[in-house]
């Protein structure tokens, strides 16, 4: 589904990602772990198409199509979703109006009519219930004054509504208490199928107890330096990252 080949990308002439190779197939869950500043969030943003970053080498394909040059909205239309580490506050636009616009813009891009209002309402209700989101929450301004947990839950709500093929969850576990983490993880697991894939970006192994990855990759200095199965995450949790550094030397 997603193939990243020899990807170099960065800001203002400095490469943050230095030769990433990664393949995520439909039905798989991959976790990317790594210390602060290793390039995890940059990788997430580059796949989602943030224009601030320059891709200097390599390419990204999604369902066998090169998406390196596509706008963020075009990637979204193809089924790529990024759950933000720091969701943006947009006062004046309600969660409901925002998600309606996102869904109908995506449908429009695919040549479809707007989703009928009744269908939209039903879907909103269903997904909000699944994520234990209070209905009042949906009429509030997007992310404005939301707690860290509410913001992350709202990200997963958007993911549930947009039903992406590839969901990239950037530090979705940060700022969540254990109960909220369970609700969010449960939501992600329910949305998981053999046809979609999840790329988890995380600092801690904690999330991986609830969303179990098929593969774990360690990102350091802009490169994937080690890949393994979920056992690798436990090893990292126990021993930190230093042993990998030593191994590399």
């Amino acid at each position: 589904m997603l193939k990243i080949k020899d990807l170099y990308a960065g800001l203002e002439g400095k490469d943050i990602l230095q030769g990433i190779n990664l393949e995520v197939k439909a039905g798989e869950v991959h976790a990317i772990m790594g210390p602060n500043g290793s390039g995890k969030s940059t990788l997430a943003s580059v796949v989602a198409g943030k224009e601030e970053f320059d891709v200097t080498r390599g390419y990204i394909t999604f369902e066998n199509e090169d998406i390196s040059e596509l706008d963020p909205e075009e990637r979204a239309h193809k089924g790529i979703f990024l759950s933000f580490q720091y969701p943006i506050e947009i006062p004046g636009v309600s969660v409901t109006n925002f998600i309606k616009t996102a869904i109908n813009e995506t449908r429009k891009a695919k040549g479809k009519e707007d989703m009928p209002a009744s269908e939209m309402l039903k879907m909103i209700k269903e997904k909000a219930d699944m994520l234990e989101i209070d209905r009042k929450f949906l009429s509030r301004s997007l992310n404005e004054g939301f707690s860290g947990g509410e913001k992350k839950r709202n990200e997963i709500f958007q993911m549930a509504m947009l039903e992406p093929k590839l969901a990239i969850l950037d530090e979705t576990d940060s700022g969540l208490d254990i109960d909220a983490l369970k609700v969010v993880a449960n939501g992600v697991n329910k949305l998981k199928s053999k046809d979609n894939a999840v790329l988890l970006i995380t600092h801690y192994q904690r999330l991986l107890d609830y969303i179990v990855p098929d593969f774990v990759h360690v990102l350091m200095n802009g490169k994937i330096v080690k890949s393994g199965t979920k056992e690798l995450a436990y090893e990292l949790e126990e021993k930190g990252y230093d042993w990998i550094k030593e191994e590399l030397v």
């Binding site: 943030k50 943006i88 813009e105």
Partner: protein
């Protein structure tokens, strides 16, 4: 002959058929002298630093309309709030149109300045209120000298007007260039309530230059909700001078939606004369091309324990120019004043300009005054966030513009008007989103 000289000689012609024995004649004479002495404001004056009238003054305006021009309702229907019942005071090229208007004398007066000036039964009101709050700056004085027509609205005490009043000034372009000077007087009695919508609309591409004066008096506990819709042709320019005098416990709100026209200057002045007055001044400005809109607000806190709230949002595209000059004066006696002013601007294109200048003059020592002014571009992170959800760049920008304008729009109290303004905004920014704020 300069436009000023032309006006001065026209005044002499006007005098011939005006009321000679009325006290109004003296008011006019004093006013024309002020105009003669001061002339049109220039950029040398601090209050006009960013707005020049030069290009407007070069044109050959006709000052008195030659004929009464009729227009059919169906051609102008869209400018009315036709989906609900309203009172209407409509002028075509400065002349009252009885055909398009719907006035009343039933418990309240919604009628014409010309009849109020000439009929003896209105004399006490005219004498008590006319030109009593208007400043004596040159443009207001010019309007005063030529006062002839406009809306006259008198709401008696305790009257809650059940439907909004629309004041609409159409110009037909029957002359190559026209100078119009509507003069409105609105007196809202004790504990009375009214909603008013004002609009100036040119129906052709001929030049129109309007110098309008509106005086509003809010008596004790009166409630006045006033909306100005400025979405005029590119060849229409407007100087709107509005003066609001508030007695104790009154509430006055003015919303200005500045979307169009060539050059627009809004001189909006509030005078809080009694305790516990509440004043609200809000505006949304969305400009493009070479449009120029200058908001010049004054809130004069004279009495103690009053509040004022200002919230002006501006979006400037292409090479448009915006000015916000907001002055708050708190007099020595106006203790416990709570004055708030906010002005936020987004420059959409590199060539757009905004000149923002908040001014606070505080002479009392126990007050709460705050102001905030921002000038910025679209937040790139917010745009990326919206786009990553499948919302295209154009729509994402539109969504941010709607969101930006929302704090002003949400306080519009007439639902039909809100729908209308939503459409005007959608039209102005070229994107219609599937929802309304």
């Amino acid at each position: 002959m300069s436009f000023k000289d032309k006006l001065l000689s026209s005044y002499i012609a006007l005098e011939d058929y005006l009321e000679f024995d009325s006290p109004l004649h003296d008011v006019r004479n004093t006013a024309i002298k002020i105009f003669e002495e001061k002339g049109f404001p220039t950029k040398k004056e601090e209050a006009w630093k960013y707005t020049s009238l030069n290009s407007l003054l070069k044109k050959e305006y006709s000052i008195f309309p030659k004929a009464e021009n009729a227009i059919e309702f169906k051609t102008v229907k869209k400018y009315f709030l036709h989906d609900i019942d309203t009172y209407k005071v409509v002028f075509i090229d400065g002349v009252y149109s009885s055909f398009l208007s719907e006035t009343t004398h039933d418990t309240l007066d919604v009628c014409l300045m010309s009849s109020a000036l000439n009929k003896s039964k209105y004399k006490p009101v005219i004498e008590a209120y006319f030109n009593k709050v208007a400043k004596s700056d040159s443009l207001t004085a010019l309007n005063t000298a030529f006062t002839k027509e406009g809306a006259y609205i008198h709401i008696p005490a305790h009257k809650e007007v059940e439907k909004p009043i629309e004041i609409i000034n159409f110009s037909t372009g029957s002359e190559a260039a026209m100078f119009l000077q509507p003069r409105n007087l609105i007196v809202v009695g004790e504990n009375a309530q009214v909603q008013i919508i004002e609009r100036h609309q040119s129906l052709s591409s001929n030049e129109v230059f309007t110098n309008s004066v509106t005086e509003i008096f809010a008596e004790k506990r009166a409630y006045v909700d006033y909306y100005k819709i400025q979405n005029d042709a590119e060849t229409a320019s407007l100087i709107d001078n509005t003066y609001i005098s508030q007695e104790r416990d009154s509430i006055c709100r003015v919303h200005t939606f500045a979307f169009g026209g060539n050059l627009v200057r809004n001189n909006l002045n509030f005078y809080q004369k009694g305790e516990h007055c509440d004043s609200t001044l809000k505006g949304i400005t969305i400009l493009e091309g070479k449009q120029h809109v200058d908001h010049n607000t004054l809130v004069h806190h004279i009495a103690p324990n009053c509040e004022s709230h200002q919230d002006y949002k501006g979006l400037f595209a292409e090479s448009s120019i915006g000015v916000f000059n907001g002055k708050i004066i708190v007099e020595k006696d106006a203790q416990k004043t709570d004055a708030f002013q906010q002005n936020n601007n987004i420059l959409i294109d590199d060539k757009a300009t905004i000149n923002a200048k908040p001014q606070l003059e505080i002479f009392a020592d126990d007050v709460k005054c705050s102001h905030g002014c921002t000038i910025g571009q679209f937040d790139e992170d917010a745009l990326f966030y919206l786009r990553s959800r499948g919302i295209g760049l154009k729509e994402a920008r539109a969504l941010l513009m709607y969101a930006f304008a929302n704090t002003v729009l949400e306080s519009v109290k007439i639902p039909e008007l809100k729908v209308r303004i939503n459409k005007l905004i959608a039209n102005k920014i070229g994107v219609s989103l599937g929802f309304q704020l």
